[in-house]
């Protein structure tokens, strides 16, 4: 069987390696100080998609992402690893979206693509940690969902058998296609980029990424149409601007605080024997430890 697979992927600031200059003095996030990366869980989802493709010749894998023009990099990273195509949703109207408005945009784009047998994404993105977009896309498309997947064990007779993480254990479920799957952090790591594919796709670009005056490589885009990546605006996917971006988001951020903890009266000790022994004796005397 051939399947049509869409991988949902997000470009995120690398919040795992936050340095001291990651926050501005005003307490806002200094995005420029954080490298933009392929969301780690989404890479695991891509791997599961590529494995299905290998086991089922003729399967197509496309990467769908939403973000600023530079998020075109996510599609290239997908192509370098074996994806066949990609779509970038980029428009000022998409900006400021909460999870609900994000899922509306993605679901609308998936309808434009013509749907898929399997839609697969990471469980959550490291910049929000919400895990909400996957299930919300599934609901908007009326699809069955399987979240926290660790491995797709097989697909047979229009049904996928999936091992998934649950609190305190694992379970195996059988779910009918079409299906939306989110992949847990415990899944198999993604394969590295393939050198041949990097050579093939390194100049693949979305229109928004191209400099206005053009480049010396302009001829390439005519000779090799696969280097022209698809880019869509709200209008291109027949989206309702009222349901996109900030306008379509039920949640509002009331306040953002750079947390300042109330400093306690603390005792500072050295690592000397007398200080450490003194600490232990104090804790024992005051019955803090038994």
């Amino acid at each position: 069987m051939k399947y049509k697979i869409i991988v949902l992927a997000k470009q995120v600031p690398d919040t795992r390696n936050v340095g001291k200059d990651a926050m501005t003095e005003a307490g806002t996030v200094n995005r420029a100080a954080l490298p933009a990366i392929f969301n780690p869980d989404d890479l695991l989802a891509l791997e599961q998609a590529l494995q299905i493709k290998e086991q089922n010749p003729g399967t197509s894998v496309g990467v769908l992402t939403m973000g600023p023009p530079r998020a075109g990099e996510i599609i290239r990273q997908g192509l370098y690893r074996g994806a066949d195509t990609g779509w970038l949703l980029t428009d000022r109207l998409f900006a400021g979206a909460d999870t609900l408005a994000t899922s509306y945009a993605l679901a609308t784009a998936i309808k434009k693509i013509g749907g898929a047998d399997i839609i697969i994404g990471g469980r959550q993105a490291i910049d929000g940690d919400t895990a909400q977009v996957g299930p919300q896309v599934a609901q908007k498309l009326g699809l069955t969902q399987v979240t926290y997947a660790e491995e797709i064990l097989g697909i047979e007779d229009g049904k996928a058998t999936i091992r998934r993480h649950i609190d305190g254990g694992v379970e195996t479920v059988v779910a009918p296609l079409p299906l939306l799957i989110t992949v847990n952090g415990s899944a198999t790591p993604c394969r590295p980029c393939n050198a041949k594919l990097v050579m093939k796709y390194k100049r693949a670009t979305c229109p928004a990424e191209c400099p206005a005056e053009g480049t010396a490589y302009d001829y390439l885009y005519e000779q090799k149409p696969y280097l022209n990546l698809t880019q869509w605006s709200v209008a291109d996917v027949d989206g309702d601007p009222a349901q996109c971006g900030g306008a379509g988001s039920p949640t509002r951020v009331k306040a953002v605080q750079n947390i300042v903890f109330q400093a306690k009266e603390s005792k500072t000790l050295s690592s000397s024997d007398s200080d450490v022994e003194g600490l232990i004796k104090e804790l024992l005397n005051e019955k803090i430890i038994g």
């Binding site: 936050v18 609901q139 609190d167 039920p250 603390s266 005792k267 232990i280 004796k281 430890i289």
Partner: protein
């Protein structure tokens, strides 16, 4: 009467999850503040007569029970339709659920169906007012959904001014459970499941399921010895296990240490891990990102061992030991052995 506070109770077999009881306790307080009732929803198989006593004593005014063979083990579609269809009848103003695998599967699906806002992993819930900066419209008595954001570097207060219910998930251990009255008189409604759940919802079949008993009791431990990325390796954690054993405590870790593979994921303390409230918290080589501090700041006595005198965690510590963990921890073990008993 509508506009109440709802809590979705998660059930394993016939046992109500602790996180749900913690949320019932919080929900009771929110309902009191708003002058409305606290309602609970329980869905499972063979639960009637078994879950009431685990739910009503937290001050639940009305409990809706959905009892049918296909409702356990949990699958997304039937539980979603129960909440969506019940909420269409009941119009709650607030809905709380655990930030568990189930709550994080169910919450977004329900919120998308009802087009309402949902905030994940809240660490505080409060009632307060809000004025929209653009429209200058004023709202009273909204649910403040407070959570660390952006990898735990900031704390955001989220509100849902226009949409109901205001939905939030909260991790286990963040709120404290407390029985209000063993004999609290709440109404029990046994719902007609077929009215809420169409047959076509039972699409996903669970064919195999393994739940292991918890390997440790980090959440309830009186003393927690926690290690950070500064422990350097899996072997580095061994001395923390030794110290924890001596003190009859448990070992926890920061996200960075878990991500580096030094210890199992279930020992992670913080916003996206376990929240602990021990009598003594010993932070070894932990710098103290907000997302970690969110999971341990209510500890009794906090001891920080760190080479960096300016580590953020030192600000909330009662004792700061400036030094290398691999020097200080063996000394703690040695002098504890020498001085205890």
């Amino acid at each position: 009467m509508k506009n109440n506070v709802f809590v979705y109770c998660e059930i394993e077999g016939t046992t109500v999850a602790e996180v749900s009881q913690e949320l019932l306790t919080k929900g009771r307080k929110l309902a009191n503040q708003l002058g409305v009732q606290l309602h609970a929803v329980a869905a499972g198989s063979g639960i009637t007569g078994k879950v009431e006593s685990q739910i009503l004593p937290y001050g639940v005014d009305k409990l809706f029970i959905f009892d049918a063979p296909g409702l356990f083990p949990y699958t997304s579609a039937p539980h979603t339709d129960i909440l969506v269809n019940l909420f269409k009848e009941e119009d709650p103003q607030i809905c709380l659920m655990g930030a568990t695998v189930i709550g994080r599967d169910l919450g977004p699906r329900v919120s998308s169906s009802l087009v309402s806002g949902l905030t994940a992993d809240c660490t505080q819930l409060e009632i307060g007012d809000y004025e929209d900066i653009k429209t200058h419209e004023k709202y009273t008595d909204l649910l403040y959904q407070i959570r660390p954001a952006f990898g735990g570097n900031i704390v955001a207060t989220i509100v849902n001014p226009e949409h109901r219910p205001q939905m939030a998930t909260v991790r286990s251990g963040v709120m404290q459970k407390q029985i209000l009255d063993e004999n609290y008189k709440g109404e029990v409604v046994i719902a007609d499941v077929d009215k809420y759940v169409p047959d076509s919802d039972y699409l996903v079949k669970v064919i195999d399921r393994h739940i292991e008993a918890a390997k440790h009791n980090l959440k309830g431990a009186p003393i927690v010895v926690a290690g950070g990325y500064g422990m350097g390796s899996k072997e580095g954690f061994d001395m923390l296990f030794t110290l924890a054993k001596e003190l009859h405590g448990e070992v926890g870790a920061s996200r960075a240490a878990v991500d580096a593979g030094f210890v199992d994921h279930d020992r992670q303390i913080g916003q996206t891990g376990v929240t602990v409230h021990p009598k003594v918290y010993i932070a070894c080589g932990i710098s103290g990102q907000i997302q970690h501090i969110a999971g341990m700041r209510d500890s009794g006595i906090i001891i920080s061992i760190n080479t960096d005198p300016d580590a953020p965690i030192n600000k909330i510590a009662d004792y700061v030991v400036i030094g290398k963990v691999e020097e200080v921890v063996p000394k703690l073990i040695k002098y504890y052995k020498a001085n205890s008993k």
